[in-house]
Symmetry: C2
Amino acid sequence: MAVDGALDMKREESSSISSPHVHKVSSMSTNTLEEIFHPQSIAVVGASDNPSARGYARTAPLLKHGYQGKIYLVNPKYSEILGIKAYASIRDIPGPVDYVISCVPAPEVLGMLADCSQKGVKTVHLYTARLSETGRREAIELEQKILTEARNQGIRLIGPNCMGIYYPRQGMAFNDALPKESGSVGLVSQSGQAAEELARLASLRGVYFSKAISYGNALDLNECDFLDYLSQDAETKIILMYVEGVKDGKRFFNTLRRAAATKPVIIIKGGRGKSGTRAAASHTASLAGSMNIWEATVTQAGAIPAEDLDELIDLTVSFYFLPSIKGSRVGVVAEGGGSSVLAADQCEEAGLDVIALPTEIREELKSKGIPAWDWIGNPADMSIMLGIDFGVDDMLEIMAGNQNFDLLIAMMEHRYRGRLKPKGNELKPLLAVMRERSLGSDDYNSWKLMRQMRKKFIAANIPFYPTIRRAARSARKLIDYYQKRG
Amino acid sequence: MAVDGALDMKREESSSISSPHVHKVSSMSTNTLEEIFHPQSIAVVGASDNPSARGYARTAPLLKHGYQGKIYLVNPKYSEILGIKAYASIRDIPGPVDYVISCVPAPEVLGMLADCSQKGVKTVHLYTARLSETGRREAIELEQKILTEARNQGIRLIGPNCMGIYYPRQGMAFNDALPKESGSVGLVSQSGQAAEELARLASLRGVYFSKAISYGNALDLNECDFLDYLSQDAETKIILMYVEGVKDGKRFFNTLRRAAATKPVIIIKGGRGKSGTRAAASHTASLAGSMNIWEATVTQAGAIPAEDLDELIDLTVSFYFLPSIKGSRVGVVAEGGGSSVLAADQCEEAGLDVIALPTEIREELKSKGIPAWDWIGNPADMSIMLGIDFGVDDMLEIMAGNQNFDLLIAMMEHRYRGRLKPKGNELKPLLAVMRERSLGSDDYNSWKLMRQMRKKFIAANIPFYPTIRRAARSARKLIDYYQKRG
């Protein structure tokens, strides 16, 4: 925690920015969000030591992730929570409070905001839900009162009905399962569950987050504010978005275009059809709008659309590990006859060019005394090499040296020996395929082996995918992105 | 093993069927294949006790799966293999030999066929490869000589370049990893690897095979022979096919149409594009042909096309566990806000009708005192029920009793308590979604939990899928199938 004096100075500066009359959200400076992301102290209001309570679920991760500022817990029912002194009210906290996480029920929010105002709180994250998303009139009216009150008091709101900020470098987290490691992927997500899922799944493929924001009903701060911030954030190299609805289409388009000009922005839309739109309304009170307009907006702005969370992860992994690829001539290595045929089909259907095996490679195989030199093709079916000391790594090394290939895709289940380390050297871009099928297996050793393979890939900076189709589709979108940029 | 006398009689009968002049493959009776699938004795020629040798790979599974007939091993280099007496030649075997598995190199096949002929062998499975699929002229010529010689001797051939027969009920298997359990799914596959993969993956979802045939280059017996046989086989209720090319398009269409009229036939084509066609040629010497004609053929014949092996498994699981479903109104249960929105989108995009939650269900929830009765929808986002004793199973039970739904799809990761048992009673058809994401996790308990869930689903006859999208697409194809049939 910072020295009190320094903190006070900082707070004075900020009060001139987040003044009581900040109505033009679109002109909000990045500095304000810089402050929001770097609170010196957090108070959890409605904290609890009961593991099934919502107030516990927002408190424990801060402790577990080692939040670096000061943590205050507020709940009049307790004198101590999880070994930390509890205060009856925010007003009772001795030091300054920058950031409040509200776990109180919706009817208590207005009272809590009044306390926050007295205390000089700058940001309130409303984990509190059951507001406009319920569709109930009194809840919608209450939500509007909360916004008016916050604006009157110069308090910025995240939410309501959201998980708030995940900023591992600083120990801010909203879930115990979120990785403690930091990376360079930023996320703006209307869904907290999607944020959690994305961060967890990305980590299993070697990719970590700089900052993620779950912003729920977007009553005050919305997707544009956070997108704009991440586009200027030096810690963030790739931006992901999960959006159900936007408040201001024109502003969204301009912000997205500006952001996409600085770094890859990969975006998924929730609420695409009739029933999804209905679900989005009851999830985050979003008006989903026309899918045609959405797609045109995203594409024209230069962002990369994803169809589901799995594709979003695939694209993230691709942009994270792969360099700029501008050609689509792919060398494919597979581990069986049928899978070679299907791999060729799937690469071609994804828009990659599975060229015939270059003559130079045949000559090289011949000179190495490989008996199948005139039979092996592209895809290279390594099962015809059975009994010969020439494996997936060997074939990949030869293909990597050939200028006719722009990229390589290889099935490397159980077979990768860890020799190739594409990122950071001159080797050809390589996408590995390792199928996620351990679920079904009772075989502990097979599960262990897959974990080892996963770690080898990550250590070698090789992105991996659960199917050839997913690898190929992801590669194609990456190539499209870099081709457009010339 | 049968008594010698009885066997001899049987052999006499068969010799009149598989006479030296069986050239009209299309008129081959099912009885001949019945014999091929029920050999009283098998000889492995080129057997070996060296685990890295091809002759070992075809011998060990027969022993491990407990083949019920007599096994003879042939290799002049050994006097004993894996504890079993080895013969120098087929001719040295004392008893009759019905079925031979050839593991000898291609140049030795003609000599071996002469021995088979002397011994009265009816079927030779040529595991032997490196024939026409290599594209080499002398190999193509040799393959034709093998066919001529076999026909002259009245020997039927499976292959060359294939894994042959998997018939678990009888202990015939070509791979140790193949399940020993029997089921009702039959498979005709040009690729042995695909056959092995399909059998293994299906077993992990509670589905087992009656018989599978990997037939490779289809020099003599081909896809039509095996399809015709399975369509009349009482042990087979669902037929799967992996085909790279067919020899006779008209016969294939007629056989497929006949088969599809008796049971569901789910079919995947390998070699769909330019590079896949090239790969198919070098895999099984198949001429892949036009994809447009293929699709028209399959659809007109009443078969169900699959796009990849994963979809083939999904469809198999669907037809295996689900009844005839003729409507597409789906009730969806999900475990989070974002995933509910995306689930709705994906079901709708797959062609299912995610109807609004029926009023009767709201009334029932209200009468049960569920606070979110007027907020919960379809998809039902169970995360808004947090802290209330009302889980996925409870919601599913209420939906199952409502006549407005034709089927239900539910995300049940870690949550299914084993109460619902759809098959065999009057409950609504239910598809469970359990994501295959244990690969990445280092968490042993999570892996263990997923295995337990998997077993619960199988025990309850509930088909499960790794994503909502895959469940929804599979359901749609099943509904299309039953709607067409009226």
